[in-house]
């Protein structure tokens, strides 16, 4: 079984935000509008955490793209009363929307705040409704959603590989954010496969994971900036 994971090279990332936008379009994440946004209900399955370090004039600004970390020991799945969120055999932390009852326990349990609740009925201009990504369902009001590592792309990639009569190759399955990164700062693949770039990069001396002391073992690694 592959163990899907991501490596984000912060030395290459410029914080342009293309991954955030690509994610929103790919996953049919609705725009919630000004009123809901003001209540903090904007849904960003991929987000960029920007922080400032130091004081003027010795200031440094850092950008950190943040998808769901698909933890090896996810705190969110343990609290789900209906098994709408669980970790599957390939290490992807799933969120099964029709199963979700919207209790939001997982949202609270997630130390990385990557889970979002759909407070409102998703809305698009009528003209756009036919032009959403047909590979991804539209989440109804009242369920929790998050980054799925674009699992719909995995479903299709596996099918294509089977049709071609071969195994899944590196690069067959890549989430939208990784694919669209203009500076090629993001890598995706099987963390357990020594041939995959991610499994080499995660051993880099620059590699770290967010809040490692929690023991969640995220499957998204960062490569720190080179000072």
């Amino acid at each position: 079984m592959p163990k899907w994971g991501m490596v984000i090279d912060l030395n290459k990332c410029t914080g342009c935000g293309e991954c955030v936008t690509a994610c929103k379009v790919e996953l049919n994440v609705p725009v919630v509008g000004p009123e809901e946004s003001a209540k903090g209900r904007t849904i960003l399955c991929m987000d960029i955490l920007s922080t400032y370090e130091g004081e003027f004039p010795e200031v440094k600004m850092r950008h950190m793209p943040r998808p769901c970390f698909h933890c090896e020991h996810p705190p969110c799945t343990k609290v789900c009363p209906v098994r709408a969120t669980y970790k599957n055999d390939e290490g992807i932390v799933a969120q099964i929307y029709p199963q979700c009852i919207g209790c939001r326990y997982c949202q609270v349990a997630c130390p990385y705040t990557v889970k979002h609740f759909n407070w409102t009925k998703p809305e698009w201009p009528e003209e756009r409704c036919e032009a959403l990504n047909p590979d991804v369902s539209v989440r109804p009001e009242g369920v929790v959603e998050k980054c799925t590592f674009c699992v719909h792309r995995l479903q299709k990639a596996k099918e294509q590989a089977a049709v071609d009569g071969r195994d899944l190759r590196e690069g067959d399955y890549v989430p939208a954010c990784v694919e669209s990164c203009p500076t090629k700062a993001m890598y995706f693949g099987d963390l357990d496969n020594p041939k995959h770039k991610v499994s080499q990069l995660k051993k880099s001396h620059r590699a770290f994971r967010l809040m490692e002391d929690l023991g969640t073992e995220p499957k998204v690694y960062y490569l720190s900036e080179v000072e």
Binding site: S137, P140, E141, Q155, E159
Partner: protein, 166 residues
């Protein structure tokens, strides 16, 4: 009625109930009294001749005028149904077929996966459509999660939620 309740009900009850509802409707709910038997049995056509993407696409597709036109440029029978078809073909109007077999939005269903990779016959899920003289107005098989999962289990196919849900 609030959409949330609707969705809840939608989740608790299998989607198949829609088809139960459609059952109650007039059997001739399709715009044209299409005769599968005539095409398949009498004219030796294959399912794939018209549902062209059933093997290679996620959706099998329902043929419309551009495909029908290949054979029905002019009347070849005296049937009323063909006359009805020809009016669509000649006016280049879309035939408003009712899609009978519907998989919910939150499930990823791929014909290619089932037909090409799983080597399933069309009849396994759709029944002997080729025998039908009346248009399809109800599904042969209610698509329930149990039904899907039983078959997956029997054939040793993944039953991970992410095998189908998205």
């Amino acid at each position: 009625m609030k959409i949330k309740q609707v969705i809840l009900i939608g989740l608790l009850l299998p989607a198949s109930l829609v088809f139960a509802y459609l059952n109650g409707r007039d059997g001739g709910s399709q715009p044209i009294a299409y005769n599968h038997n005539m095409h398949v049995q009498e004219n030796d056509m294959e399912c794939l001749d018209c549902h062209v993407y059933a093997e290679d696409g996620a959706r099998a597709s329902i043929p419309n005028v551009e495909l029908c036109r290949d054979c029905h440029e002019e009347a070849s029978t005296e049937s009323e149904a063909e006359a009805a078809l020809l009016s669509y073909v000649n006016d280049n109007r879309r035939i408003p077929w009712r899609q009978i077999n519907v998989v919910p939005d939150y499930a990823y269903f791929s014909h290619r996966r089932h037909v090409k990779l799983g080597e399933l016959d069309c009849v396994a899920c759709h029944g002997e459509v080729g025998e039908m003289v009346k248009p399809v107005s109800e599904p042969f098989q209610e698509v329930t999660m149990d039904w899907c999962m039983d078959c997956h289990e029997a054939r040793n196919v993944s039953n991970d939620c992410y095998a189908c849900h998205r």
